[in-house]
Symmetry: C2
Subunit: 348 residues, 2 copies
């Protein structure tokens, strides 16, 4: 290969390779909520502009998406947005306090049928424009991850209105109105399929579904309600040919069930060791995770020990993307993130 | 056997037999938080007396303990109290809002050493008197369960002050101040050993440790911090000869680790099917659980189906105590509880 050829070749992405369970030169790492409140440059911007405006203004959303990649050697960018943004685009009234609060909970058959069909280019054009802007200027040609909420997780917010520790109204809804629950889930599954398809068309190079709350369900209810809905969305995305990531929070009891899903990567919280996660998911899934966000508050040598523990559990088989097990906490010291990123890159 | 002999014999307790994995004529059932806000007779009492006074007045606490046993054919009573009551007895300032809020979080070595040793007869005499009162008048000679918080769960409240979804300060404490965490856990383990020993001496016939928050920990942190502390308490209780129950909330990833604990019964939340729980715990543990509290909001035939699902998963081997997977919700219809108790008793 000529020197010139080496210079112009776009370097292969360790992140995309790991998604496909290919060997990588270094272990890729990115961090859930890497664009956000723990960064001083984000807080400065937020002091002038409210959260919703940030998500709806492509120049600002792109800027926030890129902030963590300028500061740290992260291996992927993730769109700055909220899982409720497409529902807002469909006319669902909500506020961010900062958790999303749906003004009028959706619980009746009439309300479910009245939800309009999502047309991304009409309803959330600013999201697609953000993706195009990020792709033009992302450092190190880091791939951009697009994302959406998984149907059951969106149902939780729609049915509860105000989120709560137990999401009691959402769980009650499944038991008391199973037919309505199934119908709402399928409508959300269709909407998220259209949303993520549009994100890929705009330039997103991997697509992630956040199942933040299915871990509230027993295996029986997860299998009856949440699983068919996310499977429906995934079936529509498979022909796109981009890696698909399913993040399952609090889902230690669900891993065997999730193993059957057609996704490339399963992201998990910090509860189950990755050796166990990989054993339950089988050899045809990559895994993403799973350091406890609390570990970033440890002294440097203790943080290193905890991160090394994740690497040991993940093992050396291809197909591990380092991440936290849940979103980074707002009071985290950015210097701890820098130490973590360096440590992971130095220990393939 | 003479008729007179049959009349005076105290009937064997299905609950205690199941704790010891003995065969039973009917499947025992009791319900976490069975004494509480979903009962009109409880709400009537609470409209006149605040929660703390209820827990500190033996006649009232005994009355509340007995209320659900008069209404339903429950197989066990459980002391009406709070896991924070003994800490209050040790001088920790707290309020119930209704979740316990510790006024000055305990985080320094000096604060930990300054906690006085618990002397139950001096610090919480009203708890012991409640137990004696209940034993005198409990219907059907139902056994009385005494209880305490497991050390790590108590640490969560002490370190956080105000409880939160993530209990972030408690998890941070483990990573940032591991030596202080270990010391606080051992002090709490000693206190709960003394507390439960006194409860057994006063008449409690089974002892339960509530590990409501260890499910927030990864296996590594659970094994390092929470496990040695609860093992320390259990070792002190074993010579008492009463059944010991360890309730593990959100602990699907921890079951294999918990299998090594010297307890008779492990109670679990609704996430993992009981067949899997039993397989992971092994044949020398009874199990308690694990219907989702949300199922009590289903129409009767759906509730029956869900309860039958729990029975099927539990199987027919001795050693299953039916319960919910978590405390009953305050807005539950008492009639649904009556239907559940009858259904379980009719399906041994």
């Amino acid at each position: 290969m000529s020197e010139r050829g080496a210079e112009t070749r776009v370097p292969a992405s360790a992140f995309l390779a790991a998604c496909r369970r290919q060997s990588v030169a270094h272990r890729p790492i990115w961090i859930m909520r890497q664009a956000g409140r723990y960064l001083p440059e984000y807080r400065e911007l937020r002091s002038k502009v409210d959260f919703e405006t940030l998500t709806r203004t492509p120049e600002l959303a792109a800027e926030v998406t890129l902030q963590p990649l300028r500061r740290f050697e992260l291996d992927a960018a993730i769109l700055f947005s909220d899982i409720m943004t497409p529902l807002q685009g469909m006319g669902v009234g909500l506020t961010f306090e900062p958790a999303p609060v749906v003004r009028v909970p959706v619980r009746t058959r009439a309300q479910i049928e009245a939800l309009p069909t999502l047309e991304p280019a009409r309803d959330v054009p600013f999201v697609l424009e953000t993706i195009r802007l990020v792709r033009r200027s992302v450092p190190r040609a880091a791939p951009l991850i697009g994302f959406a909420g998984a149907p059951f997780t969106l149902l939780c917010y729609l049915v509860c209105g105000r989120p709560s520790k137990e999401f009691a109204p959402a769980r009650t809804f499944l038991f008391a109105q199973p037919q309505e629950a199934e119908r709402l889930l399928m409508r959300l599954a269709d909407a998220m399929a259209a949303y993520l398809t549009a994100q890929a068309a705009a330039g997103a190079q991997a697509l992630m579904l956040f199942e933040s709350w299915a871990g509230l369900l027993g295996v029986r209810e997860y299998t009856r309600f949440a699983l068919p809905a996310v499977r429906h969305t995934l079936a529509a995305l498979k022909p796109l040919g981009v890696p698909l990531i399913y993040y399952l929070n609090q889902g230690s009891a669900l891993l065997r069930t999730v193993a059957g899903l057609e996704v490339d990567v399963v992201g998990v919280d910090w509860r189950s060791p990755l050796s166990e996660v990989r054993a339950l998911l089988g050899p045809d899934k990559a895994v993403q995770g799973n350091l406890d966000p609390a570990a970033l508050f440890a002294p440097p040598e203790e943080l290193t020990r905890a991160a090394a523990g994740v690497l040991t559990e993940a093992g050396n088989a291809p197909g591990h993307i380092f991440n936290l097990g849940h979103g980074i906490w707002p009071d985290t010291d950015p210097d701890a993130v820098a130490r973590l990123v360096d440590f992971v890159h130095e220990h393939p």
